[in-house]
Amino acid sequence: MTKVKTKNVFVDGAVSPVFIGESIGKHTTKRNIGAHSIFLGQVRNDDIKGREVAAIEYTAYREMAEEKFHEIREDAFAGFPLICMHIYHSLGKVASGEISLFVFVSATHRKDAIHACEEIVERIKKEVPVWGKEIFADEGYQWKTNS
């Protein structure tokens, strides 16, 4: 069994826009950065057969998810000349309109930042053991499926 050092990815509840602004501001000192590519996943108030999604409640297989995030991170640094990368994912309840995923990739050149960010997002959706329970405004729920 290998133990890998993992960065803290999971946050309790929504990712706040203020936190995102602060994260961006911290990169002013990294003056070899030319481009940041950011992806934000926001909870939609989807209408599912007449029932509105009010929130998503996220759970994860935490140990495996953290190892997966670590692997995705290492692969991105191996595949693209990146300067830094941050991933935050919500656990627990996130209301519609709030942000549940924040992927932040910085590089010297824009194409590296943009393409790495896209690849990271796709891999998170496909490979990380996280589940979203879509909670309806009227109190029922269904399990989310990713497209």
């Binding site: 069994m1 996943g41 996220y58 759970t59 994860a60 297989y61 140990e63 495996m64 998810a65 190892e67 994912h89 549940s100 995923l101 997002v121 998170i124 959706k125 496909k126 490979e127 990380v128 053991p129 996280v130 589940w131 979203g132 329970k133 399990w143 989310k144 499926t145 990713n146």
Partner: protein, 77 residues
């Protein structure tokens, strides 16, 4: 030997618990068969299996203290 079984999402609703323990299961096929016997609803559920946090696609031998997880389709992000 004992194997830890973790279940998530809609599977935990079927088993009524997020964590089970199983004795003397030689491989994942046997483990899944025994779970289906206990929880017949599992038959109609889509999931993948992880042994010690690695996805396995084929029948896999199990040893004492292994952790097997039943993972419904991921829906993070």
């Amino acid at each position: 030997m004992r194997v830890n079984v973790l279940v998530f999402g809609q599977i935990a609703e079927i088993t009524g618990s997020v964590s089970l323990e199983m004795k003397d299961t030689k491989d994942t096929n046997e483990l899944v068969q025994r779970l289906i016997t206990d929880y017949p609803k599992l038959k109609s559920i889509e999931y993948s299996l992880a042994v010690n946090r690695n996805i396995v696609r084929e029948n896999t031998k199990l040893k004492d203290q292994d952790t097997v997880a039943l993972l419904p389709p991921f829906s993070g992000g």
